[in-house]
Assembly symmetry: C2
Homo-oligomer: 641 residues x 2
C-alpha cells in the first residue's frame, strides 16, 4: 500500500484534451481498437496527473487501464443514482485512481479541468472518495471490495433493482484476510451479480507478490471457494471481452484473473523488464523523475499516433504546459524514517532477539537497511496486518523482541484487536506506525493516520511515543526497547520536515516528561512530532512579534502518559495551556494532558486542545494543514483570541 | 462466540478427585482405552466446573476432549518454560477452556483445587490466559491461533529450539478472515512444526455452521492453501493417533479435520440428536438447568463405571458436594437486550429499508424476534465481522439502513478500520454492541468490552449512546434512526440489572444532554448505563447517610458528545464532578465530559474520572466490580476522600 510522496515533475507536461476523447469514442471500427486507443490516452493523462501532483500510483493505473476502458466504454450501463437500477464499477485497491479518473474524464463523467487537480484540495483525492462523481465507494485500505459489493447486491435485491457490480482488486490485496472472509457468503448466496476482476500484475507495493507471500495456485483457491473462475490476458482486450461474455449466464459469483503487466504501456516501467528477484519496483507510487516522465510520455504519444494512423484516423492533438520546478524539500529538512532505520540497526546490534516484521512497506517504513544487515531476522508478512501482529505475539511469548511495522493508519486499526490480545499477555512488542498525521495530504483520509492515538491509548501497558526530530528518534527507541516494561507504539511522521528548533544534547527520555524547546511565560504550547512542534514554534514567533505574548513551547513525546509533577512544574505560573494534535481532538494527546491537569489541586489552568474534528481533506501539504487550521497562523490566531 | 451467563446449578454436584486421575493414568492396557476414560473423567469435571460457575461452554469442551486427552497423555512433550525446547498446545477458540483445564488438572499440571474455581477471581478465567500454568497464549477472540503458532515456530527456529505447536481451532472460527490470511505464509515457509486440529463439531455459537455460512469443501480449501490435510473421526482415539503418526515426516504444515460431535458424551447434548435445521443449540454456552445437569452427570458416571469394569479396573470414586441455590436475578431486574429487541422491531415496522446483520450471536444480541418477523431483512454474516461491516457499508450506499450487531468487544475492534471507512462515506449505519463493560465478569478480558468507546469515539460523525434502563432503549434507538444525521453506535449492557432509579416519563433524547436521576448540591456524578448509574445512585445514598454529602446523579447517555451549555446549567453551583466509566479511564466518557468542562470560562470545577486502568479481572460480577473499585462503596470512598 506504499505511498511515497515525491516531487512534481518540471518542464513540459503533456495531456490530451477532452475533444480528442469525444472523437476517439466515436471512431468506427472494431471496439477493441477504440478501447486500446482510449486506454493509452488515459495512460498519458494519468501520467500527467501524477507528474503534476508529484505522487500517485503509475504501475497499478497502467496495468488496469485496458480493463477499465473496456468496462466503461462497452460493458457498463451505469446506475444514474445510488438508488436506481444499473451497473457499478469500483476499484477495491484504490491505487489505480489516477487511471480510473482519467477514464471517467475521458468519458465526460468528470469535469475535464480536474485532470489538472490530482491530489489538490479542490480536485481529485489520492484514493477514491464518494464525493467525486463516478466513485461509488471509498477505498484505499485493502480487502474491503467484495464485502462492499455484496452489500450493494443485497440492497439491489431488497429493492428489486437490476444491476451488476464490477470490482477490481489487486493481487497483493489478496493477502488480506477480509478478501477470503468475503468470498464465502457470496458463493453461498449465489451473488452472480458480482464480477470481481483481479488485476494480476504480479507486483505489490514493494516487489513481486510471489516474493512477499506467494499466493500459490490462485485459480484453484478461488474455485474451491465456490466462485466461477476464469483467467485471461488483461491487455488482450478481445480476450477480456470474450471472457466477460462467457460469464453472462453464470449463477455463481464470478472472478476473472486478468494477467496484466505492472506499468503496462511504457517499456521501462513494465515489470516484465525487471529481473524477477528485483528488490524494489520503482514505479509503484510517487512521480517519476523528469527524464523518465518525458521518455514515458513520448513512448505513449508515439504509439497513439501510430495506432490512429493504422486505422486511418487523423493524428492526435496533444496539449502541453510548462511547469516550473517546485522547490525540493530543503537539504536541512529532517527525515525521521532514515533516522529510525539507523536507530533500529543500532538496537539490533545489541539485541540478538530483536526481529523486524513488515507488511509490504519495506521502503516506506525504512526497513531496507535492516533486511540487508539481518536478513534472517527480517519477516516480510505481506499485506496481512492481523496475521503479522498475532505472529509477533507468538514470537514475543517465545522470547523474541518483535518490532512490527506498517503505516499507522493500517497498524492502529486493522489489527487493533490483535494488539489488544498481545497486550493482555504482558509480553513486549514494539509497534512502529509511519505516515502519521494529516500530511502528506495527497493520499487522502484512508492514509492520513489521525486516529491512531485514540485507538491505542487505552490499551493497558502500551506506551505511545512520537519523536520530534531526527535526534529524538534514537533515544526514544532506546527507551522503548531498554526501559519500557511492556509494549510501545512509536508514531513517526514520514515527510521530510524543516525544523526550527534545536534538540538538547544528551537528552534522556523520562516517561511522561517533556522538553522545553522555547522558554516563555504567558502561554504554554504542548505538542509532539515535527509537524505540530514546528507550527508551535512559528506560532510563538508570530505571537511574540505581533502581540507581544510570550509562549513556552514544550515537546512532549509521550502521547498517553503525562507526569503530573513534571507538568505542574513545567507550567510554572502559566494558566493558559494549548495542546496541538496532529490527530483528532477526541482521543488525542490533548486528552492525556487534560487528564493530568484535571488531577491538579490548583484549578486556575485553562486548557484548550486544537486538532481535527472532521475527516481531513486531501490536497497539498500546506493546503491540508491550513484547512484543518493547524498552521502557525491559525494556531497564533486561536491563542490570541 | 456466544457467552450466555446463566445460573449456577444447585443441589448435588459431582467431580472426580485427583487421586483417581493418577490411578487411571497408570492403568495398563491399550492407551486408547486409558485416554477414553481420562477424557470422560475430564467431561464430568468440566461439567462440574461449568455447573458451579453458572457459565462456560459445554458443547465445545466435550467435542474436543478426546483429542486433547490423547495429546496431553500420549503425544506432547511439554516445553518446561516458554524459552526451552518442547511442544506446546493451545486452543485458538478458547471456548473449550473448561475441558482443557480439567485435562490439565487431571495431568497434575494445575492445582486440583482450581476445579472448584472456574470463572472466579482467584481461579480459572472463562477464556484462557497465560497467567494460568499450562496456558501458553491468550485466546477468546477467534482466528488468531495459527498466526500465533507461526510466531512461536519462528522464535523456536531463531533460537534453534526443537518443538512442535499443536493448535486446536473451531470450525465456526474458520469464517474469520485471519484464519485464511494466516495459512499462506505457513505454507510458504514450510512450517511443518505446526499441527492444526479443527474440532469440526459442525455447530457454531448459534446453530449449524452450514446454516450460518457454509464452509463448503473444507479439505479441498485447506489443501489448496498448501497445507497437508487429513481427516478423521475425532472421537475414534486410535484413528486420531494413527492420523497424527502418519504426519510425522511431512514437510508442510499440517491440519487435521477431526469430525466431532458437539456435546459429545451426553446423549441429549450431542448435536446429532438435533434436527439439522434446529434454530438454536442449547449447550453452546451457559450452565445447564439442574435437571439436565444431573441427567448428564449420571450418564457420564455410568459410562465411566462400565468402562472401568470392562478393563477389570476397580470402580471410580466420585466426590460430591451440595450447592445451595443461588439467588436468581430479581424479577424486577431490567433486561436491555429484550428491550432492544422490541425497539428494533418497532423501528423495522416503520422503516422498510431497515435490515439487521448479525455475526453468529443472534441469541445474545436479541435478534431472534427480528429474524422471525422479517426473515428477508435478516442477514446472518457468520463470525466474519469485517465482512459484515463492509457489507453494511455497501448496503448503506445503496439506500438500506443497516443495523449491525455483535458483542462490543469484537464489533469495536476487529472491524475498526471498516467502520472508519464506512463513516468516511457519510452514510448511515447503526452499530449495536452488546455485552459491554466489566460485567459479566466470567468470560474474561477478551469479552469484557471496556475499550469500545475509545476505539470509536474519534470517528467523525459517529455518535455513541448507552441506555441506562429498559425505558431508555427505545427513545435512544429512535433518536439514532430518526434524528441522527450520520452513523451511531449503541452500547448495551447485557446482564439483567437491578435498577434503583426511575426514568422520567415522556423522555426525549437531546444530543449531548443528560437526565438528572437524583437531585443534589455538593457533588455531581455523571455516568451512563445501568451498571454505573446503579452504583452512582447507591453511592449517593451512602454519602448522604454517612457523610451528609448531597450528590446529584446525572444519566448522560451520550458517550462522545456533551452539550456544554446544558452541562454548565446542570452543574449549577457544584464545583466537584465525578465521571464513572464502565470502561478504561483513558478514552472513556469522562474524557468527553472533561473536554466540555475545559471549554467553560469558569475554572473552579474539579473533575475526577473513575474507571479502569488495567485489564479487568475475571470473576463473579460482584468480585470484578469490587476489584476495579467501581462498586458503590468504592465510589463513595473516592468521593469522600
Amino acid at each position: 500500500m506504499g505511498d511515497q510522496v515525491g516531487q512534481a515533475v518540471d518542464g513540459t507536461l503533456y495531456y490530451i484534451p477532452y475533444t480528442e476523447f469525444v472523437r476517439v469514442r466515436a471512431l468506427r471500427g472494431a471496439p477493441e481498437q477504440r478501447v486500446a486507443i482510449f486506454a493509452d490516452m488515459c495512460r498519458l493523462n494519468a501520467l500527467y496527473m501524477i507528474a503534476r501532483a508529484g505522487s500517485g500510483h503509475i504501475g497499478s493505473s497502467f496495468s488496469s487501464l485496458d480493463i477499465i476502458s473496456w468496462l466503461l466504454l462497452e460493458e457498463i450501463q451505469p446506475a444514474e443514482t445510488p438508488e436506481s437500477s444499473g451497473d457499478v464499477f469500483f476499484s477495491s485497491k484504490g491505487h489505480d485512481a489516477p487511471g480510473y479518473y482519467s477514464a471517467l474524464i475521458g468519458m465526460g463523467r468528470l469535469d475535464f479541468e480536474l485532470v489538472h487537480k490530482l491530489r489538490r484540495i479542490d480536485g481529485l483525492p489520492g484514493h477514491p472518495d464518494v464525493a467525486t462523481p463516478g466513485i461509488v465507494t471509498n477505498t484505499g485500505s485493502l480487502g474491503m471490495g467484495i464485502s462492499k459489493a455484496k452489500g450493494m447486491v443485497f440492497a439491489n435485491r431488497h429493492a428489486k433493482r437490476q444491476g451488476r457490480v464490477f470490482v477490481m482488486t489487486g493481487d497483493g490485496e489478496l493477502q488480506e484476510g477480509q478478501f477470503w472472509e468475503s468470498l464465502i457468503s457470496a458463493a453461498n448466496n449465489g451473488l452472480h451479480e458480482i464480477t470481481a476482476i483481479i488485476d494480476h500484475n504480479k507486483l505489490q507495493s514493494d516487489t513481486f507478490v510471489k516474493n512477499v507471500s506467494d499466493l500459490g495456485d490462485l485459480e484453484a483457491k478461488l474455485r474451491v471457494f465456490g466462485w466461477r473462475v476464469e483467467r485471461c490476458n488483461g491487455h488482450d482486450i478481445r480476450a477480456f471481452a470474450e471472457t466477460l461474455a462467457s460469464l453472462q449466464d453464470e449463477p455463481r459469483p464470478k472472478i476473472i484473473i486478468a494477467d496484466t503487466i505492472k506499468g503496462r504501456g511504457v517499456s521501462f516501467m513494465e515489470h516484465t523488464s525487471l529481473d524477477s528477484d528485483v528488490a524494489m519496483y520503482r514505479f509503484h507510487s510517487g512521480a517519476p523523475d523528469a527524464g523518465s516522465y518525458r521518455l514515458a510520455a513520448e513512448e505513449i504519444m508515439d504509439r497513439l499516433q501510430w495506432r490512429l494512423s493504422e486505422i486511418g484516423a487523423s493524428p492526435l492533438k496533444v496539449e502541453s504546459i510548462k511547469r516550473e520546478a517546485a522547490d525540493p524539500p530543503p537539504a536541512t529538512a529532517q527525515r525521521l524514517i532514515p533516522a529510525y532505520a539507523r536507530a533500529l540497526l543500532e538496537q539490533a546490534e545489541k539485541h540478538r532477539n530483536l526481529v523486524a516484521l513488515d507488511a509490504d512497506l519495506i521502503l516506506d517504513t525504512g526497513l531496507i537497511p535492516f533486511r540487508e544487515k539481518f536478513p534472517e531476522r527480517f519477516y516480510e508478512c505481506g499485506i496481512a496486518e492481523q496475521d503479522m501482529v498475532s505472529m509477533a505475539g507468538g514470537m514475543a511469548l517465545k522470547g523474541l523482541l518483535p518490532v512490527v511495522h506498517s503505516f499507522a493508519c493500517f497498524l492502529s486499526a486493522r489489527p487493533n484487536e490483535q494488539i489488544y490480545n498481545n497486550a493482555s499477555e504482558r509480553t513486549k512488542i514494539i509497534y512502529v506506525g509511519s505516515l502519521t498525521g494529516v500530511v502528506p495530504g495527497g493520499p487522502g483520509h484512508s492514509h492520513q493516520a489521525v486516529r491512531d492515538i485514540s485507538t491505542l491509548a487505552a490499551i493497558p501497558g502500551l506506551t505511545l511515543v512520537e519523536p520530534s526530530c531526527e535526534a529524538e528518534v534514537g533515544p526514544l527507541l532506546d527507551w522503548c526497547i531498554n526501559e519500557a516494561t511492556a509494549s510501545c507504539y512509536v508514531r513517526l511522521v514520514s515527510l521530510p520536515w524543516e525544523i526550527p528548533y534545536k534538540f538538547p544534547e544528551g537528552y534522556k527520555p523520562r516517561l511522561g516528561q517533556g522538553v522545553t524547546l522555547i522558554e516563555g511565560s504567558d502561554v504554554v504550547l504542548i505538542a509532539a512530532g515535527p509537524v505540530m512542534l514546528s507550527a508551535a514554534v512559528q506560532a510563538a514567533e508570530i505571537l511574540a512579534t505581533d502581540n507581544g505574548v510570550s509562549i513556552k513551547v514544550i515537546n512532549l513525546p509521550w502521547l498517553n502518559h503525562v507526569d503530573g509533577a513534571w507538568l505542574r512544574s513545567a507550567l510554572g505560573n502559566c494558566s493558559k495551556v494549548f495542546c496541538l494534535d496532529n490527530h483528532y481532538v477526541v482521543g488525542g494527546q490533548g486528552d492525556a494532558v487534560a487528564r493530568a491537569i484535571n488531577r491538579f489541586e490548583q484549578r486556575n489552568i485553562k486548557i484548550t486542545c486544537l486538532g481535527l474534528g472532521d475527516f481531513p481533506p486531501c490536497g497539498t501539504n500546506q493546503q491540508v494543514i491550513s484547512m484543518v487550521t493547524l498552521d502557525a497562523q491559525a494556531i497564533a490566531k486561536a491563542i490570541s483570541n
